[in-house]
């Protein structure tokens, strides 16, 4: 436990000094501000773009549009950006040889993976959480309506998805000695799950439901119980993948 804490501290120092925290903070704060702002400005922007020759009556934006934009940003850009930041976390250390000294000093190999995993999951939660709170604040200010009754319920699946997605990134970074392996493996897994979603029978069990059904959860058109099987699969898969990552790292020559 002490080794995990020591290495976890080192991971945070690395994230801070290598500007990973700053990069994530800037991008996710922008996401948080951009979602409600875009929803607010969209009718005016459309009007400007279309000019006077079209006399279409554009519907007024609602809080639902703001959350739609937020979850689009998060699931289409945000999670891949996080995957990119964590992509070389193991492979970089293995190729540069920085772990050799620490392992010979008694750092257990499993502590490396667990500390990296926990640090990445916390960064995931904080990045998405901060972005969510900013969006929530601005959305409540711009759109004081009742179109989004379950705002707080819908964010949990995204945070839970992080447990699975970070484990996949870490596995990719451990198996392949390339700084982009973690990202590519994660992108490949995400694409495979997206394809799997076309099979109706597995839809409720597919972890990808945790980042695709959020708007329905916000609007209240879908109940959280609908994706509970997917939540269970996500947590179980995260634990299995984490175990496989530790096993793989134990076999790795340093």
């Amino acid at each position: 436990m002490s080794a995990i804490l020591t290495f976890w501290h080192k991971e945070w120092l690395a994230a801070w000094r290598n500007y990973h925290i700053l990069i994530l903070a800037v991008i996710f704060v922008i996401f948080g501000i951009e979602a409600p702002l875009m929803a607010k400005l969209m009718p005016d922007l459309m009007k400007l773009a279309l000019g006077d020759q079209f006399s279409i009556k554009l519907p007024q934006s609602t809080s639902s549009d703001s959350w739609q934009q937020f979850y689009k940003n998060t699931s289409q850009i945000g999670i891949f950006l996080l995957a990119l930041v964590f992509s070389g976390t193991v492979s970089q250390e293995v190729s540069s040889g920085t772990l050799v000294n620490l392992i010979t000093k008694g750092l257990p190999r499993y502590a490396v993976i667990i500390a990296k995993y926990l640090a990445a999951v916390v960064q995931w939660v904080v990045a998405i959480g901060v972005s969510f709170i900013i969006t929530w604040g601005y959305t409540a200010y711009y759109f004081p309506d009742d179109k989004s009754p379950h705002v707080w319920l819908a964010i949990w699946p995204v945070l839970l998805f992080g447990l699975f997605f970070v484990a996949v990134v870490l596995l990719g970074s451990t198996v392949v000695n390339s700084n982009y392996a973690g990202f590519l493996v994660a992108a490949l897994v995400f694409a495979s799950l997206a394809l799997l979603n076309y099979v109706k029978a597995v839809k409720r069990w597919n972890p990808i439901a945790l980042v695709t059904d959020n708007l329905d959860l916000v609007r209240g058109t879908e109940k959280i119980t609908h994706i509970l099987p997917a939540c269970g699969v996500t947590v179980a898969a995260a634990l299995v993948i984490l175990g496989v990552t530790i096993w793989t790292f134990n076999q790795k020559r340093l």
Binding site: T6, L13, V100, L102, I103, T104, G106, R253
Partner: protein
């Protein structure tokens, strides 16, 4: 008492059998020079001792404890200095040593005091400068500081002088020699003069096995091939000298080497008497002692 013991250690990488039943014993308190040509398996041996790689066969014990791959049991008593130490460039030397110290189980205030002491020993300033700005020599000195931080019983250095300039090398060897009596040191190198300068025990690794091991003075005595070295004005005269000497001698250009077993003075007197009788005069006469290089050549060819 032995601090490190390797018995019948084997290791293979693909088709290449790197170690073929290596036996190595390092007595407690020794400065052990582990010699071998590049690719002989020195680094592999060290990684096996440190539990960084898996053994194919045999057994390794450090301070009486068996070394197992991935287990840190023996690592707590070992300090390791790799040939090119890799660090986290974003850390300061103090932060890096704190990380290392905590992993070895050191706690405050002992850790802070020890870090200050070690940085002073290796002549590194205790400031906010990050490691990415360090020179190669500074990184090597930081490597020594981290290796010695937890007061190890056994210090393992892998080719520690290969990346240093002559001054850095000399300083490093002086530092290693100053640790005599405090801990056992095993250092690998292919620079034989470094071994001769500070080691009292030597092992020569060749073809996957230790060809020879023991006290350096005893080995020199065992492989004694003392010679009288004569220099002549030309190779023709050197050739003439070999002809008139009346004893085994080898000529290399203008030099002639005459091996001797017993008394140097008596051999020189007899050689000079024979040469002067034939009016062959050497330009210089010198005694050539057995060196580690001679022993190395003999056991590896």
């Amino acid at each position: 008492m032995t601090i490190l013991d390797l018995q019948r250690v084997t290791k293979r990488f693909g088709d290449k059998q790197v170690l073929k039943g290596l036996d190595l014993t390092v007595p407690t308190g020794a400065i052990f020079g582990f010699v071998g040509e590049n690719g002989a398996g020195k680094t592999t041996t060290m990684k096996l001792i440190l539990g960084l790689d898996t053994l194919d066969g045999g057994q390794i014990t450090v301070a009486g404890q068996p070394v197992r791959y991935g287990r840190a049991v023996a690592n707590q008593v070992v300090g390791y200095l790799p040939d090119v130490p890799a660090y986290y460039g974003y850390m300061t030397s103090t932060e890096y040593l704190t990380l290392c110290g905590r992993l070895t189980g050191m706690r405050e205030p002992d850790l802070s005091n020890r870090i200050t002491e070690m940085l002073r020993t290796v002549d590194l300033p205790q400031n906010k400068h990050r490691i990415h700005g360090f020179s190669r020599g500074m990184k090597q000195r930081l490597g020594i500081a981290q290796a010695l931080l937890n007061r190890p019983q056994l210090l393992i250095c892998d080719e520690p002088t290969s990346a240093l300039d002559p001054n850095g090398r000399s300083e490093f060897l002086k530092l290693l020699a100053s640790l005599r009596g405090e801990m056992t040191i095993l250092f690998s190198t292919h620079i034989l003069t470094d071994v001769e300068r500070i080691s009292d025990q030597v092992g020569i690794l060749h073809a996957g096995v230790l060809q020879v091991q023991g006290n350096l003075t005893a080995l020199k005595h065992r492989y004694a091939r003392s010679q009288v070295q004569l220099k002549f004005a030309s190779s023709a005269i050197a050739q003439q000298a070999v002809a008139v000497m009346g004893r085994p001698a080898t000529q290399t250009a203008t030099h002639v080497a005459v091996p001797f077993q017993d008394d140097y003075a008596a051999t020189v007197a007899a050689v000079l008497k024979a040469l002067l009788a034939a009016h062959v005069v050497p330009l210089a006469v010198d005694r050539q002692e057995t060196s580690l290089e001679d022993i190395f050549r003999e056991v590896t060819t």
